[in-house]
Each structure stands twice: as C-alpha cells, then as structure tokens.
C-alpha cells in the first residue's frame, strides 16, 4: 500500500524528535504504530504465495506417494507389540519405548535452546520485581487462585492419561509452562533465571533421566533404553513426569531469560542504523549514536 518513502514514517520521526525521545528509529517505528493501515509490498506476498503453490502440490504428491509406499505391516506390528510397551496409547508406546532415542534428543534440543537464550542474558532482568504485586489487583489474584491450581491438576492428569489416551508429557509441560508464564507476568512469582542451580537440575532432569534409565537397563536387557519386562509402565510413567516438569521449566525460562529491555538512553543495545547492530551492542565502549547524524 505504501512504499519506503512513507510519509507517515517521516511524520512519526518528526513527532518523536519534538518530544525528545532521542534516537532515530524510523525503521522500527512504522512496524509498531497502531493504525494497521500499512501493508507490505503486495508483489512480494503474491510471489511467495505463487512459489508456495508448486511446493504444496509437490508435498501433496509426495504424501500420496508415501501413503502408497508405506509398509502396510507397520500398524499391525505396533498393535501386535503394544502390550510389551507397558502402555496402551500407541503414540506414547512408540515415543517412549520403540523410539526412545527420538524423544531423548527432542528434550536435548529444548535444553540447548534454553542454554542459548540464557547465554544472551546481560544481567538485567525483565521480571526482576519482587513478588506480591498481584495483591494490588484483587480480581486478577482471585482468578489466578482458581486457574493455576486447575492447570496444575490438569497437567498431572494429562501426564497420567498419556499412557492410555491421547495426551502426554509434552502437553502437560506446555500447560504447566502456560501457568508459569501467567504467574510471571502477573508478578505473583519471581522466577529464577537459568543461572539458578535448581532450575538447571530440573531442566536437565528430562535428558538425565532418560540416560540414567537407558544405562541402568543395560545389564538386564543388553540394549540402551530397552526396558525389562514388567518394568516398562513404571519407568515410562516416571520418565514422563520428569519430562513434563523439565519441559515446563525450560519453556518458562525461555520466557524469563530473554534479554531484558535496555534503558532508553543505554549505549548497550542501541541500534545504530548505519553500522552493525550486533557489533555495536557488544562493544563495551560504544558511544551512543548521534541523534542529529544523517
């Protein structure tokens, strides 16, 4: 609808320099203004859309081919061996028994993501305020008292349900994480960062549990993650519980550990439109960009 020489963007910049907010951010500002009238260049969207059509057709053809070439014995094989997995939900049976490696690596990826976000931490915390602020908002506090215990109960239920019906540890973990995010933004809870030892222990608990169980069953069955007969159900349930808690803690940490907001006049983290934003931000003695510079 509007090109790069957007009169509104220029106008907003002028307004900002009048109010004295300082740094020129004309490239960010149009994205944040709240009139919803600016659309991206239409031609780009249409090009992307047109590119996606053949991709979709190819995908559909591929799926069709895959459906034709799929080994018809697999569903029967799973159904036949399902009693050995210790659970009656085939998805859980495949994920935690037949293909435990997959799940182990999935959780490892989540832990790696948490470490990556944590490494961006610059010592300032977004959610650093003391807890207890929700008392200022009795209505919000009341609904939290209702919703958060319900979410916790539902998460336990989903974890347990995963052995027999469609549900499981990841779903429960995501739900717990939602409750944790709610508590965090409502400032009831002051979540520790990933630097805290308990957080690290719990987050690693999912992977560690998998590895420990996998090695512990080695003497009995001779294979990594091959559960001994009769032990499959309790082992899977325990692993699921550890997974749920680990996923929840990791997801909340992803929310908590995002690099915090710089103070508006901070030289750290100031985007310099003319230079490399990253290099600028990391340089310890970077000078603030001159607002008057072109």
């Amino acid at each position: 609808m509007s090109g790069p020489t957007d009169p509104q963007a220029n106008n907003a910049t002028g307004a900002a320099s009048e109010t004295g907010t300082g740094v020129d951010h004309a490239h960010v500002r149009p994205l944040l203004e709240d009139d919803g009238s600016r659309d991206g260049p239409a031609i780009l969207t249409w090009m992307v859309g047109l590119l996606l059509v053949p991709a979709g057709v190819l995908l559909a053809l591929g799926l069709r081919g895959a459906a034709d070439s799929r080994d018809p014995r697999i569903p029967d094989l799973i159904a036949e061996h399902l009693p050995e997995t210790g659970v009656s939900n085939p998805v859980t049976g495949v994920l935690l028994n037949f293909r435990g490696y997959d799940t182990l690596l999935e959780v490892a990826v989540l832990v790696a993501a948490m470490v990556a976000v944590w490494s961006l931490d610059r010592g300032q915390r977004v959610f650093g305020l003391p807890a207890g602020r929700a008392r200022d908002e009795p209505v919000l506090a009341a609904v939290l008292r209702l919703a958060v215990p319900t979410a916790f109960l539902t998460a336990v239920y989903l974890t347990w349900l995963g052995s027999s019906e469609p549900a499981g540890a990841f779903q429960a973990g995501a739900l717990l994480a939602g409750a944790g995010v709610l508590l965090t933004v409502a400032r009831v809870m002051r979540p520790p960062t990933a630097a805290a030892l308990p957080v690290r222990i719990i987050a690693a608990g999912g992977v560690a549990g998998f590895v420990v169980v996998g090695i512990a069953v080695l003497p009995f069955t001779g294979a990594f993650l091959a559960y001994p007969e009769g032990w499959a159900y309790p082992l899977i349930l325990g692993l699921e519980a550890a997974l749920a808690v680990a996923v929840a803690v990791i997801l909340v940490e992803l929310f908590v550990d995002v690099p915090s907001i710089p103070a508006p006049d901070s030289t750290l983290d100031t985007v310099d439109p003319t230079g490399d934003p990253l290099g600028r931000a990391l340089a310890p003695d970077a000078t603030p960009p001159d607002p008057g510079a072109p």
Partner: protein, 101 residues
C-alpha cells in the same frame, strides 16, 4: 443429530472468522486482543460440540486447555505488551479533540 452439531460448529467457526476482522482493523491494540479472546471462548464451544459430534472424549481435554490458557495472552498483554507506541496520545495528555475533515 450429528449433522446438527456439526452445523453448530460451522456456525461458531464462521462467527470466529467474522470476529477476526477486528484483529485486522483494530484500531487499538486492546481491540485486537479482545478479538483473540473471542477465539478462546468460541473455540471452547466448538470443541465441546465437536466432542459430541465426533464422539471423541479427548476433545474435552483440548477444550479445558483452551479455557485455561485463554487468559494468558490477555494478562500478558495488559502486564507486558501494552506500551504506548510513539505518536499515540499518552496518559498525561488526553487524546486530541476530533476534527471533522
């Protein structure tokens, strides 16, 4: 009965699709959040109706998750996302009087 229940689900989904116009048109951020909230409530209704129509009990678990988490976005928005974008009237200075073109 099943056809009727599915018809109800179609009606509710069309309702949501119409409500999404508010997300696109705004004009304030809060209006967009309210429209997203509509999706939470109506989604619960759709899932409940579908759980009977498709005879699938797990859908009621999905509805429970919708209900529990519908509030997260709104609270996160009020507590976290609602910043005054540059150029918007501020708390201190009330919005300018409207001028008819």
């Amino acid at each position: 009965m099943t056809a009727f229940l599915l018809g109800v689900a179609i009606f509710l989904l069309a309702n949501v699709a119409a409500g999404l116009v508010r997300v696109i048109r705004g004009p304030t951020q809060a209006d967009r959040v309210v429209a997203a909230q509509l999706f939470g409530t109506t989604g619960v209704a759709i899932l409940l109706v579908l759980s009977v129509a498709m005879d699938a009990r797990p859908l009621r678990d999905v509805a429970l998750i919708f209900a529990l988490l519908a509030v997260v976005i709104s609270v996160a928005f009020v507590k976290r996302g609602w910043v005054r974008a540059p150029g918007q009237p501020s708390r201190a200075e009330p919005s300018l009087p409207r001028e008819e073109p």
